[in-house]
Amino acid sequence: MTRPSRALRETATFIARPGLDRGVTGTAVRARNLVFTYKPSGFSGKKLPPSLTDVSLDIREGEVYGLLGPNGAGKTTLIKILATLLLPDEGDLEILGASLPGGEDLVRPHLGVALAEYERTFHFRLTGRENLRFFASFLDVPRHEVAPRVAEVLEQVGLTEAADKMFLTYSTGMKHRLAVARALLGKPRLLIFDEPTAGLDAATSRALGDLILRLAKEEKATVLYTTHRLEEAGRLCDRIAILRKGRVIAEEAPAALRRLSTSVSVIRLRLDAVPDTTVAALRSVPQVTGVYVDGADTVRLHVTSVEEALKPVLGAAERERRRVLGLVTTEPSVEDVFLQLTRDEKEVAAPAR
């Protein structure tokens, strides 16, 4: 029998990716009771509090899964554990059917990762194309497939024209798109994005979010996505998990998540001005659980009941000699749910500004 050529064998490996059974479990990630504490090196003996105290989640194959949480909630730590960069202290973890620790070599060829601090890992004096070709050497992309694959992902993220310009000349949005292209290079089954839209303006951020969603569908990949833009998560993700102090406190589809928060109603109040004294006065109303300033003249109030809160809220505004320009009651958005769920018990109302 004729032995297949090296190029053919490499291509077969690239496509078949032996070692993991695609779609057997239907679960891309299965995590149970993950615990992780950073252990700083050195002689200070300083002990840090745990970053993850008890995280369990299941991510289905092919879904876009969002991770939300305030700063310090443990999102990046969880992302790094799933990207095989950290080993949990306790708990069970299965990614694409392989148990970790131990199954790293089986999992890694199927991962596409874009961490938040990606910029310095690109070489500033190489072009976008050269940077991607460099990273392709670390993947299972067969040698003869590298050039077309790099061209393909550059096309997918809309960087074909800028492909041969030095990375240092790229705008922030272009750099973000190159990071997405790098994550896509190896045709991964699990794409992990840590705040891919951080630092971008709203329009660019929306475009990049849509791009990731489209590419994930095209590549039939499972996506894990963290962001601080709550509406973006609501728009892009099939399911969202909210992390607070190292625990998953809610995990639902965006629509269900809104329904989850039955205890919150929202009043949007437009005033002639919103000085700190007015915010404090509104916060002191017993039925108000949260006051959030939205722009120069609007506050969003989380209240236990619109009927009960309306009169005291308007009374507080009047005592502050504020003119009420408008008042609307709305359904809670993903952002409202997020703020409600991640509100610290000790804080009666989250900081308004």
Binding site: K39, T84, L86, T121, L126, S137, F138
Partner: protein, 327 residues
């Protein structure tokens, strides 16, 4: 892997056992065997299927970056041109003016031709320290820029870097060493540097290869430590000082005080430089410097196994501690 260690040991024992009956053919076979063995040893220990490909990518990245600094490129060629011009115009008188006073002063303490001694140190030290730096410094640099976190979740992984960096460095080092030795051969009086036969060329290559493997392993230990203890890299300067002061690189070992002798013998490069000087200075072949080669082979084995083990183990520890990221 163990087979490679056993093969090296057998070759060396055979050489020792045969003593006077040693033939040039066996000498050549021993050198070639050790040379191939050390190359295979490193390849199997750290190369993997991704090593050569990653090495090419690293070399290409370095080269492209180098070419992108146009002014620096011009300056490099100007510098090389000036160097050649100075060598050509001044030549031996320059060496005489620079080194004779120190050579004469050293003659009061040692019988060694100090100028030749010094120049051989100048030629070989940058190569060997460069190999250490490539596995300690360059890898540390990759970690500092956050590259470890980008490369860990890939098929080749960070584990492909030590071998790849070694390969990409070797080509440049061989060119530099050859050029330096050629310049010295031109500058020094005839017979000062003697590669008397193909056997001494082979012996020289073998000793350098074993020293390279040793320094590469030591560098990996340092990189592993840095992944866990961020400031451990500073200890490299201590190692550098110990080697320069006690390994007979610029100062003959026999000039050191008695208490320093055990320390000197415990340093791998002492054996490497002693062997290199015997080969280049007196036309020795491998069997003439067998004790040094045996010691160096042992150092190479321990240091490479130890280096890779520490590197892999401490990378895992860094994943547990959460210290894989850069500074």
């Amino acid at each position: 892997m163990g087979a490679l260690a056993v093969l090296s040991a057998l070759l060396l024992t055979l050489a020792w056992g045969l003593g006077e009956n040693w033939s040039p053919l066996l000498d050549g076979l021993l050198a070639a065997g050790l040379l191939v063995t050390s190359g295979l040893h490193v390849y199997l220990l750290a190369g993997g299927r991704h090593g050569p490909r990653v090495a090419r990518a690293l070399a290409k990245r370095g080269w492209r970056t180098f070419l992108s600094y146009k002014f620096q490129l011009i300056m490099v060629f100007v510098q090389i041109g000036l160097f050649i011009a100075v060598i050509y115009l001044l030549g031996a008188p320059l060496v005489d003016a620079l080194f004779r006073p120190v050579g004469e002063a050293m003659a009061r303490y040692t019988q060694t031709n100090y100028v030749v001694f010094l120049l051989l140190g100048i030629a070989a030290w940058p190569l060997l320290w460069g190999v250490y730096e490539v596995s300690a410094g360059r890898l540390r640099q990759e970690q500092m820029t956050g590259m470890f976190e980008s490369l860990v979740p890939t098929a080749a992984g960070v584990e492909s870097l030590p071998f790849a960096y070694l390969l990409s460095r070797l080509g440049m080092s061989v060119v530099t060493l050859t050029a330096t030795l050629l310049v010295f051969a031109y500058l020094l009086p005839e017979g000062a540097i003697t590669l008397s036969s193909p056997l001494s060329v082979l012996a020289f290559a073998t000793v350098i290869a074993l020293a390279i493997v040793t320094m590469w392993g030591l560098g990996l230990i340092m990189t592993g430590l840095t992944a866990l203890f961020k400031q451990a890299g500073a200890a490299s300067s201590l190692l550098r000082f110990l080697l320069i002061a006690f390994a007979g690189i610029y100062v003959p070992v026999e000039l050191l005080p008695g208490w320093a002798a055990p320390l000197s013998e415990a340093l791998p490069l002492t054996h490497a430089f002693r062997a290199v000087r015997e080969i280049l200075g007196h036309g020795a072949t491998l069997v003439d410097v067998l004790p040094e080669v045996a010691a160096l082979a042992l150092f190479a084995l321990y240091s490479s196994f130890g280096g890779m083990w520490v590197f892999r183990k401490l990378l895992d520890r860094a994943r547990r501690a959460g210290t894989l990221y850069g500074y």
